[in-house]
């Protein structure tokens, strides 16, 4: 089956959820970690054993017809028991609508439908300084990414090896101080965190892209930018990266109806070698894309 000649795009592989698994997981822990922001721990060892940074899972409240569809949520971290056996995974989410509002009411012990891992993980990113740029809830895929690239943790296959980086900086922008989630945890992992708030309640008052500019103007040597957040921020970051000639990947939060490549709802305009563009499915071709390939 693996030999089937499905078309691939611009050198990157197309991820067909070959290793995905679906199960009804038990919620192990669920707590508020910031304004409108929760951390949810699920018991799903099979998925947790396979998932790598940048991939996501679909979550659905069992037997619920409204909301009907699953929702995509990024891997935050995997969880192990004291004996070193993989137990499950954590996601961190922000309450914005129908499903996340209901999810916030679920308690430890409640069942939740989960399927994954889905999407492609982050590409190898060979560099010395990894610059992570997050807006709003966009920091969620970065915790596992940073831990792995700093050599503190392995995700997925135990023999998986990824290029090490020397330094990780997170430029983290939110509306106001009370929306900051997980900053201490990032710092404990040795990640330099530059905080920006729109209202100036903490850190730099202004946009996260201003922090990024400041860092790059000190040194843009051997950097790689990875960005996740609202689209205007992604676009602005991609432009800055191009100006400083630094490679940049973006992780998109495109709305998804299935997350596994069935529906063609999550399409993104991607530049083609012939100079034109084509729609590609963010769930199977992404959600991480080379920023220069996206038609904003």
């Amino acid at each position: 089956m693996q030999s089937s000649s499905f078309p691939t795009d611009s050198g990157r592989s197309v991820f067909y959820a070959d290793k995905a698994h679906m199960e009804t997981a038990r919620i192990l822990d669920h707590r508020s970690i910031a304004e409108q922001t929760y951390r949810l721990r699920m018991e799903c060892p099979t998925i947790a054993d396979r998932i790598v940074p940048g991939q996501f899972v679909m979550l659905r409240i069992p037997a619920c017809n409204d909301p009907l569809l699953g929702r995509p949520l990024a891997l935050y971290d995997t969880v192990f028991d004291p004996a070193g056996r993989v137990v499950g995974l954590d996601i961190v989410y922000c309450v914005i609508g129908k499903m996340t509002r209901l999810l916030a009411g679920q308690r430890s012990g409640d069942p939740i439908d989960v399927w994954g891992p889905l999407g492609n993980g982050f590409p190898p990113l060979v560099c010395r300084h990894l610059l992570l740029v997050a807006g709003g809830i966009g920091q969620t895929p970065f915790y596992s990414l940073a831990k792995e690239r700093l050599g503190q943790k392995v995700y997925g296959n135990r023999s998986r090896s990824v290029p090490r980086v020397e330094k990780v900086t997170l430029c983290y922008g939110v509306r106001s101080a009370n929306f900051l989630a997980g900053v201490a945890e990032f710092q404990d992992a040795g990640i330099q965190v530059e905080i920006c708030t729109e209202d100036g309640s903490i850190g730099h008052r202004g946009l996260v892209t201003e922090s990024l500019q400041a860092i790059l103007s000190e040194s843009n040597e051997d950097c790689h930018i990875v960005c996740c957040g609202p689209e205007p921020m992604l676009e602005a970051t991609a432009r800055i990266a191009a100006t400083w000639n630094v490679p940049c990947d973006v992780s998109l939060e495109t709305p998804m109806a299935c997350g596994i490549g069935l529906c063609f709802s999550c399409v993104v305009k991607i530049r083609q070698p012939d100079g034109g563009w084509d729609y590609q499915r963010a769930c199977v071709h992404g959600p991480v894309f080379d920023a220069t390939k996206i038609v904003w």
Partner: protein, 315 residues
Amino acid sequence: MTRADIDLQVQLGRLQLPNPILVASGTFGYAREMEAFVDLKRLGGIIPKTITKEPRKGNPPLRTVETAAGLLNSIGLDNDGMEQFIVHILPYLAELGVPILASIAGRNQTEFVELAERLSHASTTSGQASLAGIELNISCPNVSHGVDFGTDPIQCERLVAACRAASALPIVAKLTPNVTSICDMARAASAGGADAIALINTCLGMAIDWRGRRPRLGNVLGGLSGPAIKPIALRCVWQAAQATKTAIIGIGGIASVDDCMEFFVAGASAVQLGTVNFYNPRATMDVLDALPDALAEAGVLSVADVVGTLQVIPS
């Protein structure tokens, strides 16, 4: 009666299927995407995403919006065209050993016929017959070009007859519920020589963001699917079954074995699962596991024995 005695095979005109559980066009990608969740070999049939003669980019995002117990979509037949399908996708599907029905949509009758001819040819020249049939998508609400084969019975009959003449493969006509009389359309498809009639495609609808005073879908209008449309689909199947003897494939909001049984009783000889694949990728397997017991509970030995057994007590 035990599960082992139950015969799941179904015959729809010239089309024979190992079981009545199929997957609906546009809701199962090109099947490859589902390998991790579904034992594809167990399916009664696969209808891949509709193909057109030339590649189509499809509609601008947002292409889907969730509504109460339903999903509105305006994908707009995004596909790489017939030749890419034949070269890159058909060989994979042919190897699965499951009946594959290619879904086609043309902008006019000539294109439909060309598609049917080309696919029949490709199907037979690849050594083994890679296609079990052709499904005519004469019902997509997202690509209107003036000619509406799905709403005009005369055009519908002519189109089905022309495709039947152009191909030796069994023909399924897939109908839209967005008509005044589904019976007229079912009779027309039947008169044109369809081996089976599949219904329903999505119900035309829309969603609005009143604060922004904007339609939510990029294409303004879209097709509604999912549990919300099941009663409409059941009604269409039941009415069509009264109007024609041609076999019927029920589609619309099916999510469980009970839903399937309701469609069989209403008059469908087989069913297609659609939107449910998005929110429960294992739905087809769940249904197949439960089907023999449901048929046993109905006291029948085959699917055919339960088809069209609805009893309506005259008032």
